[in-house]
Subunit: 184 residues, 2 copies
DNA sequence: TCTCCTCGTTCGGCTTGACGAACAGGCGGA
DNA sequence: TCCGCCTGTTCGTCAAGCCGAACGAGGAGA
């Protein structure tokens, strides 16, 4: 999350998306129902648009709101096995590695988790609206919302709400899974 | 992308995130450097905040901007190994299974891919702003943007832009990986 | 009960974003 | 060259967002 309001980002994004559509500033303003003077100022980096104004532009440009406010970028990134900061669970033979934290504009964290049988990793409710996706890559897991756990084997996929208490239990040695925590 | 400005969504999101932090309206306003009257009106659904105002709140609440403007949802779902619709590649010993398509409000597809050595799966550029995340679960893969491929083994994680040509090549028999395609 | 503090809301003001019109520049055709 | 139409910019006006102060409500403590 950058710390400075993305006014300049908005300016560039608007111009970029508009040119991608191949329409003029005048035309975009007309379609979005805003004054072209307003749009002109926004594209020049001046101003501090209201949500309604930006929304109207995002709709016409057919892009998610966030693409107008979050900067582009992104290089190539590799994280070798074991390089991540594995966080062992305090009371379970269980570890999780965050391989990709939620960057600005995205809404998910990527984890690789590993566990040994014998204990359960209880997770409290996360941010409301969170969804967890689990893809088992090795061993067997018992996971899901507390009281509604399902047993999963290699290749199985499960999705469940992360905004209520849930648990992971490895049922076999060297169980592993990819965990996607998705925020809304 | 909903068509109506998310003023009501913003109102709910602000209150939800604020209560998640357990701080008062007064305190949040103080930290964000805005008048608490302004925040009060926003949380009551009135008003049409400027980007700067909303940004200041997002920073203090430590959430991506988009979480304040997009709505929530979602149930429970399990997909057993092999149940998904595996799509074999036409000219490579390679298959991909879409385990979770991008629902409204989310911005990622989840795939499980499997491949045998001997051929390369070329992928053309996807939607602009797409990012691909690959977590190798078995075997070895050579993947990345064309000309900048990296070799990955089990547990390795790689991230690269999906909006330019890229390729996947399995280097060992029964290679598998989890692929997250993330849209902006 | 009375006081003090903090909660969130409401009210006048000042500031600023949004609007519409007028403007200068570029291009094609008569 | 002149005209017409388009581009995007600038300027003055109006409305609205933002602000600070004042307000009523609810608790904790004396």
């Amino acid at each position: 999350m950058q710390r400075t309001p993305p006014l300049e980002t908005i300016a560039r994004a608007l111009r970029r998306e508009r040119e991608r559509h191949g329409i003029s500033l005048t035309e975009l303003a007309r379609r979005a129902g805003i004054a072209k003077s307003t749009l002109s100022q926004l594209e020049s980096g001046a101003g501090n648009p209201s949500v309604e104004t930006l929304w109207a532009l995002a709709v016409v440009l057919d892009v998610p709101f966030s693409r107008l406010v979050d900067p582009p970028a992104e290089p190539v990134h590799v994280l070798r096995a074991g390089e991540g900061h594995a966080i062992p669970s305090e009371h379970a033979p269980f570890s999780g590695t965050l391989v990709s934290a939620c960057p600005p504009g995205a809404r998910r964290d990527l984890h690789v988790i590993a566990g040994e049988p014998g204990a359960t990793r209880e997770a409290h409710a996360h941010v409301r609206g969170t969804t967890e996706h689990l893809i088992v890559t090795a061993g067997r897991w018992l996971t899901g919302p507390v009281g509604a756990e399902v047993e999963l084997g290699p290749g199985d996929y499960a999705r469940f709400p992360g905004d209520q208490p849930h648990a992971y239990t490895a049922l076999e040695p060297s169980s592993a899974a990819v965990l996607v925590m998705e925020y809304i």
